[in-house]
């Protein structure tokens, strides 16, 4: 297209104009500095609000300081305020384009926001700054897979494998890509992944799917079993950057999660500390008090357990879990009347509370109130048909009344799974058979119970079984 120049524009002025236009274009192409986020913190937990406000003030005082803006993003990210964190990181990034952290964090939060394309772009930018950052490389490959960009995801995983051929995460990712594309190689790749990380649950699951597709059902079943045992286990990927963000969380829920995790590892004192931190963050946290009843009880601190119970029901009188936990604690203190009352309270709040019905049934049985006990065991089972202890207690109770077929039916339900409780359950079932006169089945069950008791190193149980087997043998000889 021919451009008509104004009459006053000579060749020189034309060139000058072009240069000016280029300068203008360059100036225009530079995006304005993103604003700090607008925050609405009215209903936030006070400790969380204080943490965010403090970071926000620091960023406002130094609005051109990349670290301050980025720090605000990190605090916001720690509390999953993705949109506000995004604004902060974008500003930090605009102020310091060479800092790996900001595009990396942006990549992470865009994924959480369901923006795979933006996540990919940010992670690629981060990797230009630090091409070797493993968590970023893994995240990028994963984002590509999430976005359905199978070719690009495959290349990203291949790149990871080029630098570390035994990287189970990369092998698993590549296997998923191949499986999604319907490629037979998926099988071998996923087999390599589980060879590298034998307890990588998700990889076993993916491998099982590939095996089923290949018609190898039996092998698939084996891998599904491993998956069931290691569902959430994955090769560790240490990410200092994300750890730094998580450490900024000041919410009660975060501390409770942390405490629950510590408790499951048997680290009771630390679990108590975490729950105390939760209460500092939110003194009205019923859940923290409820968990503390159990924690103090397990730690042998009865006065504090009682105090935690009182605090929990003062805040939430209908908390079934508070009453239930207190019932368990009271029972451990041999305060059976208090325990029964607490379980009754739990049932009042939640009539479907199977464990409370079961425990109340047990207490009533010990008081000789057999009919009431049976009713509660049955209520427990109607609310949770798989409640093993209720099957066990009901079976016992029925056996005591010589209601053999019913007792056997209940006890059979207790031996469907294989764990450390199974030998005892098999032994109980065998005993009922023996008392009902079916010695052959009893002997067979005792044998199975003994084998399993040995496997679980339960010496006293083995000794009991041996005694019973000897009695059976003697009576058999007499006959």
């Amino acid at each position: 297209m021919r451009v008509l120049l104004p009459f006053w524009m000579t060749r020189k002025t034309e060139m000058a104009s072009v240069a000016f236009a280029l300068l203008l274009a360059a100036a225009c192409s530079r995006a304005p500095l993103p604003d700090l986020p607008t925050l609405r913190l009215d209903n936030f937990q006070p400790t969380i609000r204080a943490g965010i406000e403090s970071a926000f003030q620091a960023a406002k005082l130094a609005p051109r300081d990349s670290a301050a803006c980025g720090r605000l993003g990190m605090v916001l990210q720690a509390h999953q305020q993705w949109g506000a964190a995004e604004a902060s990181y974008r500003r930090a990034q605009a102020l310091d384009e060479d800092n790996f952290a900001w595009p990396y964090y942006l990549g992470v939060i865009y994924a959480e926001m369901g923006k795979p394309a933006e996540s990919r772009q940010a992670l690629e930018r981060a990797l230009k700054i630090d091409p070797k950052h493993l968590p970023a490389r893994v995240a990028l490959a994963s984002r590509l897979l999430d976005a359905g960009e199978l070719e690009a995801a495959g290349r990203a995983y291949q790149d990871l494998l080029a630098s570390d051929g035994g990287n189970a995460t990369a092998l698993y990712g590549l296997g998923r890509v191949q499986a999604a594309k319907g490629q037979a190689e998926a099988l071998a790749t996923l087999e390599s992944a589980v060879r590298q990380a034998p307890e990588f649950g998700a990889a076993h699951y993916a491998l099982a799917q590939a095996l089923r597709k290949a018609g190898r059902e039996a092998e698939a079943a084996t891998h599904l079993k491993i998956y069931e045992a290691h569902k959430l286990d994955a090769p560790p990927l240490r990410d200092e950057r994300i750890a730094e963000v998580r450490a900024l969380n000041r919410g009660a829920s975060y501390f409770i999660r942390q405490g629950t995790g510590l408790e499951s590892q048997g680290r009771l004192d630390e679990a108590i500390q975490a729950h105390r931190a939760a209460l500092e963050a939110d003194p009205k946290s019923v859940q923290a008090h409820v968990n503390l009843i159990q924690l103090y009880s397990r730690a042998g601190r009865p006065a504090e357990a009682e105090a935690a119970y009182r605090a929990a029901i003062a805040l939430s009188p209908g908390s079934a879990e508070a009453h239930y936990n207190y019932g368990v604690f009271a029972f451990s203190q041999r305060k059976t009347a208090e325990a029964a009352k607490a379980f009754e309270q739990a049932i009042l709040s939640n009539p479907q509370h199977a464990a409370a019905h079961n425990n109340l049934g047990f207490l009533l049985e010990s008081q000789g109130r057999v009919k009431d006990a049976e009713r509660h065991y049955r209520l427990a089972l109607s609310n949770d048909p798989g409640h093993r202890m209720s099957h066990f207690h009901l079976g016992r109770l029925l056996a005591a009344q010589r209601r053999w077929p019913e007792a056997i039916q209940e006890l059979k339900e207790t031996v469907l799974v294989d764990d450390e409780k199974t030998p005892g359950c098999l032994y109980a079932l065998g005993s009922v058979y023996a008392r009902s006169g079916d010695i052959r089945t009893a002997t067979e069950l005792f044998g199975r119970a003994r084998t399993q008791a040995e496997r679980y190193k339960q010496a006293p149980l083995v000794a009991s079984i041996d005694r019973d087997l000897a009695v059976i043998a003697r009576s058999g000889a007499r006959r």
Partner: protein, 544 residues
């Protein structure tokens, strides 16, 4: 300099802003104009009681057998109760709804959740089963425009928190049995305080409570049902159940049940043909998505999206999980096809509830509609009175290979951002394409009338009982299989009539697999838009 930028931007904008040709929206929202006026009221307590955020459902039911679909809507805690709207299309010829709740006697005021439809007493009139947070209710359709509450006599008043339910003849004895999903053991007294990551009060996830097992009622044939949950084996596994549909996953002709659990493994109950079921979700590949994660399954739908003759399973999940499509590759052999079909990235940002297969454009391939709405505070909506709104999705099936998001071009109805839950599917204006009714939580009902489907011919098949399978034999093309089903989506019941899109093209005959396994062939006359099939009138096979 700023001015320069502005001029540049304007020029750029002009060059890009070529006017798009005006086109017909795919769906037009027509609830209010057609008299379907209803607002769901969860009666928010301020205490974040979980049932507030979970309801409610909708049923499309021709309760008066006049040939058009009426609408039954489930209310929350409000005193106004559930409503029945009669469709006056027949005989008036105009789509208009009249509230007949009072005359019909179905204005139940409970804490409503969902609804299932089926003619449990084989009297020719469709009955209603209502699930509640509290005792459920069975309404018998008297056939004279009124219903009777027969819950006590029938013995189906499960008092737990029930969600979706399905009628099916699992024992093939000729009458419909009833499967009811229960969710969790939440009670108002035991309401737990849960919090958003910001520390604000928010709704709990189901993990804060214990899951409750489902109930299976066997129809005894005398107006009574018997709870056979334990005897049938369906109490062997449980989860917080939200969605259920009927399918035949092992291809033996007997109905199986697929259950979506919220934050727990999905369950696939395989009918053992002896009154019992065995759970085979894990072994068949539908318990988890391909990454081995248990997701927050809500609505479900079974349908043959790739026209290969078997039913694939679709589940919608929580935001940042993406929906899951389990493609069936053989008996009890499913593969997660969410990535390969592009469904995962498209649905990643949404919390899906109602979901259904429908061929909105009548091209012979089943498309997807998903009703969305969050369950926990959406950060960007903080400060709004009910910060859970999301837009719904319409996904076009591209030849059985991929799905593309056509929501943005589907018309204003698909741009609404609401808290959608139930969705029911059926041809409400009898124009030969599928319409949708969307039940919003704490919001108005929406009627999405399909504006494009009837550009192509279709064939409506009536007279086949629930869960029959119907195949359309087409010249030179694979048989198109569809199921007469009402139980799918979330808390809702859809029109069980089978609508074959592209039905008129090359149609030769219909194959029917009746629920008892009997197979029959019926000829199809060219140009016919609707047929009513009668058992025995076709050419029979022994069947399965």
């Amino acid at each position: 300099m700023k001015r320069g930028c502005l001029v540049g931007a304007l020029l750029l904008l002009c060059s890009c802003a070529t006017p798009r040709p005006a086109s017909t929206p795919i769906f037009e929202e027509a609830a209010a104009v057609s008299g379907l006026t209803f607002v769901h009221d969860p009666q928010l307590s301020g205490e974040f009681h979980m049932p507030e955020i979970m309801g409610a459902g909708v049923a499309l039911i021709d309760y008066d057998n006049d040939g058009d679909l009426d609408v039954y809507l489930i209310q929350g805690k409000g005193k106004s109760g559930n409503r029945l709207f009669r469709n006056d299309l027949i005989p008036s010829g105009r789509l208009h709804f009249t509230d007949v709740t009072q005359a019909a006697g179905v204005g139940l005021a409970a804490y409503g959740m969902g609804v299932a439809t089926g003619d449990y007493d084989n009297d020719g009139y469709t009955d209603l089963y209502i699930t509640n947070f509290g005792p459920n209710v069975l309404f018998h359709n008297n056939g004279n425009g009124a219903f009777t509450d027969v819950t006590v006599k029938a013995g189906v008043g499960d008092a737990r928190w029930s969600t979706s339910a399905a009628f099916l003849d699992y024992d093939r004895d000729g009458d419909l049995d009833l499967f009811v999903l229960n969710y969790i053991d939440f009670t108002v007294t035991n309401n737990k305080a849960c919090f958003a990551p910001s520390g604000e009060r928010d709704y709990c996830t189901p993990k804060a409570y214990n899951p409750v097992n489902a109930t299976l009622y066997r129809n005894e044939g005398n107006g009574r049902f018997k709870d056979v949950s334990a005897a049938s084996g369906i109490t062997a596994a449980r989860g917080p159940g939200l969605g259920v549909t009927i399918t035949d996953a092992n291809e033996d002709g007997w109905p199986d049940l697929f259950v979506a659990n919220d934050t727990a493994a999905n369950l696939l109950w395989i009918n053992q043909k002896d009154g019992t079921f065995q759970e085979q979700g894990l072994a068949s590949g539908v318990a988890y998505s391909e990454d081995g994660l248990a997701k927050a399954g809500m609505g479900v739908a079974a349908g043959d999206y790739d026209n290969d003759g078997d039913e694939d399973l679709f589940v919608v999940n929580l935001t940042r999980e993406g929906a899951t499509l389990f493609r069936r590759d053989g008996p009890l052999l499913f593969q997660d096809a969410s990535l390969a079909t592009g469904l995962r990235p498209t649905t990643f940002s949404y919390t899906g509830f109602g979901a259904g297969w429908l061929d909105y454009d009548n091209d012979g391939f089943l498309d997807l509609f998903i009703a969305n709405g969050a369950v926990t505070i959406i950060e960007q909506l903080r400060g709004k009175p009910y910060p859970f709104q999301q837009a719904n999705l319409l996904l076009r099936n591209e030849g059985g290979k991929k799905f593309s998001d056509v929501s943005s071009s589907a018309g204003p109805a698909l741009q609404l951002e609401e808290v959608s839950r139930g969705a029911a599917f059926g041809d409400l204006d009898n124009d030969g394409d599928t319409d949708i009714v969307v039940a919003n939580n704490n919001g108005p009902i929406r009627l999405l009338l399909n504006q494009v489907g009837n550009n192509k011919p279709s064939l409506l098949v009536q007279g086949v009982p629930l869960n029959s399978r119907v195949g359309l034999v087409r010249k030179g093309l694979p048989i198109l299989w569809r199921r007469a089903q009402s139980a799918y989506s979330y808390l809702s019941a859809s029109d069980p009539r089978v609508l074959f899109a592209s039905g008129g093209v090359g149609a030769e005959e219909l194959l029917v697999e009746w629920p008892d396994g009997y197979q029959e062939r019926f000829p199809v006359k060219a140009g016919v838009r609707a047929v009513t099939l009668k058992r025995g009138a076709g050419k029979g096979d022994a069947g399965r």
